[in-house]
Amino acid sequence: FQAPAYHLILEGILILWIIRLLFSKTYKLQERSDLTSKEKEELIEEWQPEPLVPSVPKEHPALNYNIVSGPPTHIITVNGKKCINFASFNFLGLLDNEKVKNAAQASLKKYGVGTCGPRGFYGTFDVHLELEERLAKFMRTEEAIIYSYGFATIASAIPAYSKRGDIVFVDEASCFAIQKGLQASRSNIKLFKHNDMADLERLLKEQETEDQKNPRKARVTRRFIVVEGLYMNTGDICPLPELIKLKYKYKVRIFLEESLSFGVLGEHGRGITEHFGINIDDIDLISANMENSLASIGGFCCGRSFIIDHQRLSGQGYCFSASLPPLLAAAAIEALNIMEDNPDIFQILRHKCERIHKALQGISGLKVVGESFSPTLHLQLEESSGSRENDVKLLKRVVDYCMNSGIALTQARYLDKEEKCLPAPSIRVVITVEQTEQELDKAASLLKEAAQSVLN
């Protein structure tokens, strides 16, 4: 049988086409296929990187640090001048407490300084276990976990639970550590206006309608609300009872950052949950650092074992970093003892805060930002001059005036380009239990004078 002619011709053409395809060059989309190696060498020669770091002007305020000689206690020697300390977060005055120092000395004699290892590899000391137990008992939760650095606490806790695809509702005024934790978690971040529960509810409702569109995805998307007990940037507290209502209504978990409110709010210093009288199990995770009221170093998270135990294997700052030096842990335990034995210091501290809050009202040119019982206030300019740089310079002159007259103050420092919602420049005023009434009055009158002379 002879095949028809057009068959043979077609097949011949096909065979020729196949041969042509086999021998033609492959076509890659990515490469510039025309670069010769000489051109490549030229490109390599010509490329100039930026300098590793941009040069910093010499008068940048942060290059001229205040240098403190000696311990930053109630009477502090800044740049050679003795002042009363209104700048260190030493709320309960435990920085130079003799009992705390003796506990640290005893621990130093027994354990040396460093732990030489992370918690998993012989870096767990009996003092760490004791501190965790004590903190859990003090806060009346099941378990607590300690980190060796305050910043790393919340920045490691958030990414341990919230991963890519999860949703976190966070307050605008949250501190930088929370922002870094959120960035590391790669979750969807939804900011709500500071302390505005209506705005938060709006966001939650929007999320609910999203969920109804895709219920399968909604079933596996975790949701969290991250708020602070006492906000560092604004000095006010979060409305926790409303948050709890929203939690159960929209099924969102709450992470509470209590660095400033631990050891300050509440009848026994247990923080904002005690202040509002809320059952502590309603809060999924409480994170705080021990660098403020407890005058030590490090941080802790407490909550139910179901939640906290997870961090022992997935908290990056816990697993991959050396543990807290035992002398600092012993100092924290002793500080906790003092807090438990003297519950009236919290009332005294609140009383002092209210006193100075009242005394600072009515300074011309400066407004007080913060709750009346908050031990850290901000003094912002009533009218900004228009440029942040000028505002900062004006406030620096006020601070210098006060420093020259014996009150140590500092401006609140931020990284201008990195913050999501940059607060206005302000002077930070910190009240501690050790300041006497005369000193508080002196500070208030000095600030009035300074504002008068600099701003008018």
Binding site: A62, G70, S88, G114, A184, R413
Partner: protein, 553 residues
Amino acid sequence: MANPSAVCNGHLHHHHQKQNNLLKSGIYKKNGITKGMKKNGISNGTLYKKTFIEHFEQAPMYVAVLTFLGFGVGTVFGYLRDFMRAWGLEKRNVATEREQQKDFVPLYQDFENFYTRNLYMRIRDNWNRPICSVPGPQFDLMERVTDDYNWTFRFTGRTIKNVINMGSYNYLGFAETDVNALKTVTIELQKYGTGICSTRQEMGTLDKHVELEQLVAKFLGVEDAMVFGMGFATNSMNIPALVGKGCLILSDELNHTSLVLGARLSGATIRIFKHNNMQSLEKLLREAIIYGQPRSRRAWRKIIILVEGIYSMEGSIVRLPEIVSLKRKYKAYLYLDEAHSIGAVGATGRGVVEYFGMSPDDVDVLMGTFTKSFGAAGGYIAGKKDLVDFLRTHSHSAVYATSMCPPVAEQIIRAMKCLMGLDGTTQGLQRVRQLGKNTRYFRRRLHEMGFIIYGNDDSPVVPLLLYMPGKIGAFARRMLEKNIGVVVVGFPATPITESRARFCVSAAHTREMLDTVLNALDELGDFLHLKYSRYSKSSHPELYEETRLELED
């Protein structure tokens, strides 16, 4: 470490001619992977002033098979137990969600924790062992027992005394409680207390920090340095300050979590090169400069290479001379993380820069931690004054995180002064020498016994390969019975087939302690069949006057 079926000759050749060539060029390597690497080693021989020997021997094939089998059995049993737990046939020991929150989205996916529940839980007693003494060459462990197969532990109240410590990062032996040694620390603690309660830029810079920073700069031979309160945070808070969007980070495969976190937080593009592999790095550098940023083809703003001095899981030392020559040629910047190598290598303990005979100006950013060799806590970044000034103003840690606490700073100061000889004694130098001697002795004996050890001959981090999951638990428990505390690591910190025990040699270990450990290892190695090495030296004593003259093709 690539694929087990790669060419891996089981026998040893003695190429005397090759020996001479290599001896002249000064670099050779014993490696079961590719031959191309060795050729490169010869051509770059002039960069290395002394011999650079690293071992990454591969185990025989049957070991990999048995390892996978072991994990397979564990997984099957894991599914079985999960099934029994789900159906109530077995008690659930793990903590559960609150009743009121049962209808919330579950916090953990079941499969995420499969490995933890079923495999890690079985051998959990080998980690997080609490101690109750100083982590010196010997320590006291708290005795811990479990009644329910590692779900919960309880302390019997007894302590196991004088366990030899092969796990803590105490390279120079500065973790000590000698009263004279800690005299200044005691004084500073009394004077300053333990807290700072402020950040560097606000009221947290003490005169102690200034003193420490000047001393660190002098120690390293650089213009300026800055110290931070936590080693992990030093990386995660400063890399984002140095690089940002539009920059390229070339990071080693096996970099530490803190470097990876810092690189991710910075927002720059990250590309990974194979561990200590200079061809891979060069290829990435060339591609990056020639082709620019993906899609837009713009030139990269800057390229930064992230490497570590000693890699803590491999024990390998970075190939610094080659990296510096590459960096000069392609105008990249080098960030060297000397967490484990500062104080531990180098003739006077100045780290890998001194070890290779290079100058600190060759490295753009010198970073290190004080936790390992100095027995304290915290980290530093050192380099040119511009760099450090920039970090003082823009580092996240300077603005938002507390500064280092004064007694810890004093411990670093006294350790550094001891190392530099400024306290009037030669104790520092003696410690560094003792560490070098201990390291070389320990590694030589382990090689002789026939274990597979990874890493460079001069690195005090000694990983001993166990491979099989069952042996991880057995090894650690039996060593503890012999009163020796070791660290074992498995998946996910290491590749799944390469579980290992990691020893950290210290200058404070005496010859007797090392001998005790080595004898125990010998016994245990025979009992558990851990001596996988095919290059056991004891079988050819006359050909091995020096450890260096081994070749493999």
